[in-house]
């Protein structure tokens, strides 16, 4: 990969560590897609794409793309040996039915209740939710991978001002600065990025944080 900045790489590498052997994983468009680059080999992980495939492989070399084989962003992919194709109803049955172990999604905001907003900025951007609402409501685990702030504004807020993707509490939020676990008690600061102080994370987070002592530095896959 070229052009991946250090912040995105750090997030992707930290997310990769959360992926368990032999699991079925759906990576959202954008930053989450990078996670596959940092997985150790031999884990037996299979990637799901909601447009109808288990066993998504790397991008094809130019000239050998299959016009019928794309990921959820519409980009050409390959299928690994042992991949399986299916229709859209089956694909979302996998998601809602508890067959998908993990989804990793980008976010616009996460709030103090651990709720994600990632499909619409009122008055500005209306892309639609695509499969995100089903993924967040249905996957066994939901990890939000996103920048801690956008243009200097915190993305981890007291209450989402953008429309919610789901009322379900996400499992983990991984940013360039921190790993935060939403719990029934509130947002717990689990890890801080190398060289980043707890004070800086608190300053760049609008929502209140529960801060254990000590907060260890992130470790990576």
């Amino acid at each position: 990969m070229t052009g991946v900045d250090a912040d995105k790489e750090r997030i992707a590498r930290r997310v990769a560590k959360e992926i368990t052997p032999n699991s079925l994983v759906n990576l959202g468009i954008g930053l989450p897609t990078l996670v596959a680059n940092y997985l150790p080999g031999g884990l037996g992980v299979l990637f799901h794409t909601e447009n109808g495939l288990i066993g998504v492989g790397p991008r094809p070399a130019p000239g050998v793309e299959n016009r019928n084989l794309v990921d959820a962003g519409g980009g050409f992919v390959t299928a690994v040996t042992g991949a399986a194709a299916f229709d859209a109803a089956f694909s979302f049955g996998l998601i809602r039915g508890g067959h998908l172990d993990l989804t990793v999604l980008g976010g616009l905001q996460v709030d103090s209740q651990g709720r994600l907003a990632n499909w619409m900025v009122p008055g500005k951007l209306v892309p639609g939710m695509g499969g995100a609402m089903d993924l967040v409501s249905g996957a066994k685990r939901v990890i939000v991978a996103m920048a801690h702030s956008a243009a200097g504004k915190p993305k981890i807020v007291a209450e989402c001002s953008f429309p919610l993707t789901s009322i379900r509490r996400v499992s983990l939020v991984i940013t360039d600065l921190a790993v935060i676990e939403p719990t029934s008690e509130g947002l717990v600061l689990r890890e801080r990025a190398p060289g980043v102080s707890v004070e800086r994370i608190v300053e760049e987070t609008e929502a209140g944080l529960i801060i254990p002592d000590p907060v260890p530095e992130m470790s990576f896959a």
Partner: protein, 218 residues
């Protein structure tokens, strides 16, 4: 040969202005490209289109948006098509955004004779507005109603002359679900082969569901 084979002009003549149509495809992959071009060339307008996304300008359903042929759009995603967003903001097109898994289940419900489906997706979000919440054994669910259309325009990798269809990889998508949910189903296939050339185990959409058939490349 089968009487299901139809030329493009005759297929498009079946579909009037203002019709409600299901259109297969995901970001243009698995979309009925020839039928879409036919609708645009015939100048159809005021269509209600039920489809997953509007791809990009010039691609798949994006061509119908470019031609301003759509009055109402029921869809899960328009983020890759700025022209759809422009027409929505300008009030030219009404867009109903629906979670993808809900959209496909609404279509499936219509085609499978179900009165609706219950899902957790969308509970407590903007998607719930105007809908009924149902509690069963202490768990809340959102009731989503069936979505049926006058026409389904679908695409397959291979058809036999009876209309039995086989799909390829991620080009399957919504196509087999839509084949169940419209009064008239028009399928286009990359290749049309003799009956028997596709073995029964490979057929995903039985030909009985397909009313008209044409080749994508002719």
């Amino acid at each position: 040969m089968s009487d299901k084979l139809i030329d493009l002009e005759s297929a498009i003549a079946l579909i009037p202005d203002g019709a409600t149509i299901l259109v297969g495809g995901f970001m243009g992959v698995g979309a009925p490209h020839r039928l879409i071009r036919g609708l645009v060339e015939a100048g159809r307008k005021d269509l209600t289109v039920i489809t997953n996304d509007t791809a990009r300008p010039g691609i798949g359903v994006g061509r119908l948006i470019d031609a301003q042929a759509v009055r109402r759009l029921i869809v899960s995603h328009i983020g890759t098509n700025p022209e759809t967003q422009r027409q929505m903001i300008a009030g030219q097109i009404e867009v109903v955004l629906t979670p993808q898994g809900t959209l496909v289940e609404q279509i499936r419900a219509a085609g499978h004779g179900l009165g609706g489906i219950l899902t957790r997706t969308g509970l407590g979000t903007a998607v719930e507005q105007g809908k009924t919440r149902i509690e069963i054994d202490g768990v809340s669910w959102l009731l989503e109603k069936p979505l049926r259309a006058d026409f389904a325009l679908i695409a397959a990798e291979q058809a036999d002359s009876l209309g039995n269809l086989r799909y390829s990889l991620t080009a399957r998508g919504f196509n087999p679900i839509m084949a169940m949910a419209a009064s008239t189903v028009i399928a286009e296939a990359e290749e049309i082969v003799e009956v028997g050339a596709i073995i029964p185990d490979m057929i995903v959409t039985p030909g009985i569901l397909v009313d008209y058939l044409l080749e994508t490349r002719s």
